[in-house]
Assembly symmetry: C2
Homo-oligomer: 145 residues x 2
C-alpha cells in the first residue's frame, strides 16, 4: 500500500495479528482434540508441564503455569481422579506434596504430544524449506516471560 521500499511501520502489527489469529485457531483445534481425550485445556496443559522422570512439588507447577497455587489444587484433583497423577507427601518436608506422573499419565502425555504434532497439519501448505524458514524466524521472536 505504501511505497515499495519504505519501511512499513505496520508490518509488525500485521504479523502480530496473524500470530494471534493462528494461535487462536491452533488453540481451538487443540482444545477439541484434548476434550476427546477426556481432558480440559487447563488440565492437559498442566499434565504436559509435568516431567514424568522428575516428580516436583505442586508449587513448581504453579510457577510453570504462571498461576496462583490455589488454581493448581482443582487441576491436580482432576488429574488424580483420572489416575494420571498422584500426590505424595514429601517425607522431608511434610508441607510439600510431590506430583508423580503415573503410567497412565505417561501414556496420556505421549498422546498429547501426538495431538500437538497432528495439529501441525494446518501447516500443510508449506514445504520443507518453507517450514525451516518459518521455524527459524519464529525462533527469533522474543517471548517475554
Amino acid at each position: 500500500m505504501a511505497g515499495v521500499q519504505a519501511p512499513s511501520p505496520d508490518l509488525a502489527g500485521e504479523i502480530t495479528g496473524q500470530l494471534l489469529d493462528i494461535g487462536y485457531a491452533l488453540r481451538q483445534r487443540l482444545d477439541a482434540e484434548v476434550a476427546r481425550l477426556g481432558l480440559t485445556p487447563a488440565t492437559a496443559r498442566a499434565l504436559s508441564e509435568l516431567d514424568p522422570d522428575r516428580p516436583s512439588p505442586a508449587r513448581d507447577l504453579a510457577l510453570q503455569l504462571d498461576c496462583d497455587r490455589s488454581n493448581v489444587t482443582p487441576l491436580v484433583d482432576r488429574l488424580e481422579e483420572a489416575g494420571l497423577v498422584e500426590r505424595r507427601v514429601d517425607p522431608e518436608d511434610r508441607r510439600v506434596k510431590t506430583l508423580v506422573v503415573t503410567e497412565a499419565g505417561r501414556r496420556m502425555q505421549a498422546r498429547l504430544h501426538r495431538v500437538l504434532a497432528e495439529c501441525g497439519a494446518i501447516l500443510g501448505d508449506l514445504d520443507e524449506a518453507e517450514l525451516r524458514v518459518l521455524r527459524d524466524a519464529l525462533a527469533k521472536v522474543a517471548i517475554p516471560q
Copy 2:
C-alpha cells in the same frame, strides 16, 4: 538431531509449539494492555470485530466470534454500558438489533489497533527483510474456519 537432509517429521509439531507459545505470550500482553483501557479480552475482541461503517445484527457478531448468540448479549451489555456501542431495533425486522459503534467506540477501536501494533514489539529482533519472510510464511498457514 536427526540426519541433516532427512525430512524432519517433527518439524510441524515443533512449529506448532512455537506458534502456541508465541500466541499465548502475545495474548497475555495484549490482555494486560486491554485491561488498562477498561475492557475485558472478550469485549475488546467483540469491539474489534465490529465495522464502524457498517452496523450489523448481533447475530453476525456471534458468527464472527464463532460463539453462541447467548454469549453476545452480556458482551454487548458491557460495551453499551461503556458507551462504545448502541443497540438499535431494525425497523425492517423488529426481531433484529443492529449494533452501532459510537464515536467513543471508534476512538477505542483506534486505541486497540495501536495496542496491537505495540505488542508487535516482541518482533523487535527481526529486521525488515526477516519480517517480510515471516509474514509471507504465516500467510501460507491454512487457518481452519
